[in-house]
């Protein structure tokens, strides 16, 4: 029988580790910038803590180097790139149809919006008229996806604050929607449903019956899940005045979507730069003025209600007709550039595509709201406690697949 000798505290390896400070997240290179040099110099009574990339609540593989004073965060340095797959480059080497599939796994809880932005950009390049029925189906399915994404957010928010139950309740909601979309698109998460010039497949009976069943009890179900948290004293006290950001800073940080609307700016691309059939639909843009985590949380719940309104109108106004425009199999748009943005559950999902006349995009730039929002943690987190870092992060709702692209 062999036993491994246990290294004692004065083992040379251990003392070496301690002397060199290998357990401190010092970068293996001399500091490149002044900011880096300042950050990696510890003051009196301060310590680094390495949160992530393997941490239960960094929403994937985000790594945040926190400089702590006791439990208080003094400074932080988010380290990105653990999930980088080079999607933009992949898209440049695939033809226009294929590049849509690459954009799906960017923000994997709201895939339809990831598809919609490039599809719209390519349609502008090609000058395609999308059939009205296809536009309605796009709105219907993407609003469903928005509800699913927000439902997941509400659960995660509670889980990062230590509540066990809401995440499972919201997963019930999300699972129903995702199964519904699976019967429409054939996939649960990475739908690959939107096509240039329409959608892949018409509404089917299974989807419609599931949707009708769900719509009849959706409002009650979502309310039931929310009452678990909204009136909870612990939850509200932790969320209020946490990660507060004012309108000017939010605009300076280029925030969009619910995170911006929580600071009081009624900016919604569906109304500001209308696309698809949104001008025909009735819905409000909920805003809140506080700009804290609670406002961001409550705002998303209001958005779910508006999404349900839109879905209801889509079902009532659904026109007949084809779901796909007549297009050649190989697409060669004329040289030019196009930009398209859609309002997703996290904000502005945009694509800037340049065509050089071949069947592949010359350059495709993906603007992802998660990445943009994550930069504001540097403003929000310092001064808060270590427990709040997770709450602030969750309230911004970043998806690391989209951040790292």
């Amino acid at each position: 029988m062999t036993t491994t000798a246990r290294p004692s505290a004065d083992d040379p390896r251990v003392t070496l580790d301690r002397d060199l400070g290998v357990f401190e997240p010092v970068p293996p290179y001399p500091p490149r910038t002044e900011r880096e040099a300042e950050f990696y110099t510890l003051g009196d009574g301060q310590m680094f803590i390495n949160m992530g990339p393997q941490h239960p609540s960094t929403h994937g593989v985000l790594r945040v180097v926190l400089k702590l004073e006791g439990e208080k965060v003094v400074d932080l340095d988010p380290v990105l790139g653990y999930l980088h797959r080079g999607v933009e480059k992949l898209c440049e080497n695939a033809d226009y149809h294929h590049s849509i599939a690459y954009t799906d796994p960017l923000e994997y809880v709201s895939s339809l919006f990831n598809e919609w932005a490039p599809v719209m950009a390519f349609e502008k390049l090609l000058d395609v008229q999308v059939p009205r029925r296809a536009e309605y189906i796009r709105v219907l399915s993407s609003e469903l996806n928005r509800v699913a994404s927000h439902a997941l957010f509400l659960g995660w928010m509670a889980l990062d604050l230590g509540g066990l139950t809401p995440i499972l309740w919201s997963f019930i909601e999300r699972d129903e929607i995702v199964e519904m979309l699976a019967s429409l698109t054939g996939q649960r998460m990475l739908f690959n449903y939107f096509r240039i010039g329409g959608v892949n497949g018409d509404l089917n009976h299974d989807f419609m019956s599931r949707l009708g069943d769900w719509m009849s009890r959706a409002t009650e179900q979502i309310e039931a899940g929310n009452t678990l948290l909204n009136e909870n004293e612990i939850f509200v006290r932790r969320m209020r005045d946490l990660g507060k950001i004012d309108t000017a800073t939010a605009l300076r940080m280029v925030m969009t979507g619910p995170n911006l609307r929580a600071t009081g700016v009624p900016f919604d691309i569906r109304r500001a730069h209308p696309y698809s059939v949104f001008p025909e639909l009735e819905f409000d843009i909920p805003t809140r003025s506080e700009g804290d985590c609670l406002a961001r949380y409550l705002l998303r719940m209001d958005e779910i209600k508006q999404s349900l309104r839109i879905i209801d109108q889509c079902l009532h106004n659904m026109p007949d007709g084809p779901v796909m425009a007549k297009l050649p199999r190989l697409l060669r748009p004329r040289p030019g550039r196009a930009y398209a943005a859609v309002e997703g559950p996290r904000g502005q999902y945009a694509t800037y595509a340049i065509s050089d006349g071949t069947d592949q995009p010359f350059r495709m730039r993906i603007h992802d709201p998660s990445f943009i929002h994550l930069q504001s943690v540097g403003v929000m987190m310092p001064g808060h406690l270590i427990a709040d870092t997770m709450a602030i992060m969750a309230s911004l709702d970043p998806i690391m697949g989209g951040v790292d692209k």
């Binding site: 246990r6 505290a9 357990f23 803590i49 239960p56 066990l164 139950t165 270590i386 709040d388 997770m390």
Partner: protein, 450 residues
């Protein structure tokens, strides 16, 4: 020699086992019998002379043994109850309704690698779980489970409880410090801050009871609450009960005060680096702690082993089999048959499709159930400790359920809110509680008509 070896090799495995075990058993039996015959009286004399020590050793052994099934039961309960609250099914594979899953968990923890990280202080790292576990288990010694069923009736029982219970923070600090991990260190320091802060309102909240009972002995406190449930101290000390319950939750590091092992912030805190049975000790200690704080809440505020109502008349079961003579024998001989037939008759008469033998089987089962019920009722009435234990466990597990319920419902508080709550609200409230109780006692004892 070769003959023996050859015939031994021809034996199958069961044969080998039988031929090894049976002679061994025979030898052991002879040794044991002769030892009992020769030394028995002397040993019994010695034990009888030191009956207090024997009682203590037996009590400690039993308490150490019951912690394991108690922890298993509460772990299973938590898994199942939280699963139902989450609209999940929960454990349902091992045993009926998954009830053996916590046993399997225990085995898994035993078989896992016991890992010590590089840079950890091995001595402190090894002993931390033991300190935590023992400090939890040792407090069980003074809790009265039923009349006459307690480890030790210390006249300073309550003080002993808080003194030993406060030791667990030493273990948590040891674990947090020795792991050589910053998350563990944060967890250990959090637990120190939390437990030390909540120790004060916890202890002050029971001062009212000490004043009312005039004793620190838990047995005395429980006896004072006998009779109808209106005698329970929760009705005289509602504020004290509330403070005690909240502070005890914080003491046991349960949700919403489970900051020391906050998995979404500091990744299980002090337990991050632990694996195998060392982690198992922490895990057991947590659930034993849940049982203990529930038991203490029941003991102090909810009447302990007292039933919530007093029997309106004196009940005593005085069976003296000798006095019945031949009648008793007849009862034993004929009783089961008569009972079976009595229960079988309505079954048989109820439907024409029931065969006579089916009715007999049904009657037999029902008769047995009737006798068991009768026996249990007799034990409840006749044996005070059966009734006491029943009520005690019923009340205690109600509180265990409350803790599990809270875990399924509430999010976690933040460390500064936790400290604010302890020092700005709980401490003044418990001090007020002490003064109001003391004033009330003085007023009542002064103005009581003689």
């Amino acid at each position: 020699m070769t003959v023996v070896a050859k015939s031994w090799n021809r034996l199958t495995l069961p044969g080998k086992i039988v031929f090894t075990v049976v002679p061994l058993l025979i030898v052991l039996t002879i040794v044991a019998v002769s030892a009992i015959v020769l030394l028995g009286p002397t040993v019994i004399d010695i034990l009888a002379a030191n009956i207090e020590i024997v009682r203590f050793v037996v009590a400690v052994t039993i308490i150490l043994l019951i912690t394991v099934p108690t922890a298993f039961l509460i772990i299973y309960m938590e898994m199942k109850v939280i699963a139902l609250m989450n609209l999940r099914i929960g454990p349902d594979r091992v045993g009926p309704f998954g009830s053996a899953l916590s046993v399997v968990h225990g085995l898994k923890v035993l078989m896992k690698e016991d890992f010590t990280p590089t840079g950890a202080d091995p001595l402190v790292f090894t002993w931390a779980p033991v300190v935590v576990y023992l400090s939890a288990v040792m407090t069980l010694l003074v809790i009265p489970f039923a009349p006459g069923l307690f480890g030790q009736d210390l006249n300073l029982g309550l003080l002993y409880f808080f003194a030993i219970g406060g030791l667990s923070v030493v273990g948590l600090l040891m674990a947090g410090w020795s792991s050589y991990n910053k998350y563990s260190l944060l967890g250990g320091l959090r637990s120190a801050a939390q437990v030390v802060s909540y120790e004060i309102p916890l202890t002050l909240s029971v001062v009212g009871i000490i004043l009312l009972a005039g004793s620190l002995s838990l047995n005395k406190i429980v006896e004072n609450q006998s009779g109808w449930f209106t005698n329970w101290y929760v009705f005289q000390q509602p504020l004290g009960a509330l403070i005690f319950f909240i502070a005890a939750t914080a003491e046991a590091n349960r949700t919403p005060f489970d900051l020391t092992e906050a998995d979404s912030e500091i990744v299980a805190g002090f337990a991050t680096e632990y694996s195998g049975m060392r982690f198992g000790f922490f895990f057991f200690a947590e659930y034993v702690n849940v049982f203990i704080i529930s038991a203490l809440t029941v003991t102090l505020f909810f009447g302990g082993w007292n039933a919530p109502f007093a029997w309106p008349w004196d009940v005593a079961l005085s069976l003296d089999p000798g006095s019945y003579g031949i009648g008793m024998l007849m009862l034993f001989a004929i009783g089961p048959v008569v009972l079976t037939l009595l229960f079988a008759a309505p079954i048989w008469l109820a439907s024409a499709r029931v065969k006579w033998w089916q009715a007999l089987i049904g009657g037999f089962v029902l008769a047995n159930l009737f006798l068991i019920t009768l026996g249990l009722a007799g034990a409840y009435i006749g044996l005070a400790w059966v009734a006491g234990l029943l009520w005690f466990l019923l009340k205690t597990y109600t509180f265990v359920f409350t803790f599990v319920w809270m875990r399924g419902t509430l999010p976690r508080v933040r460390i500064d809110q936790l400290m604010d709550f302890a020092w700005k609200w709980m401490l003044p409230a418990s001090v007020v509680n002490v003064f109001v109780t003391a004033a009330a006692i003085v007023v009542v004892s002064t103005w009581r008509p003689v």
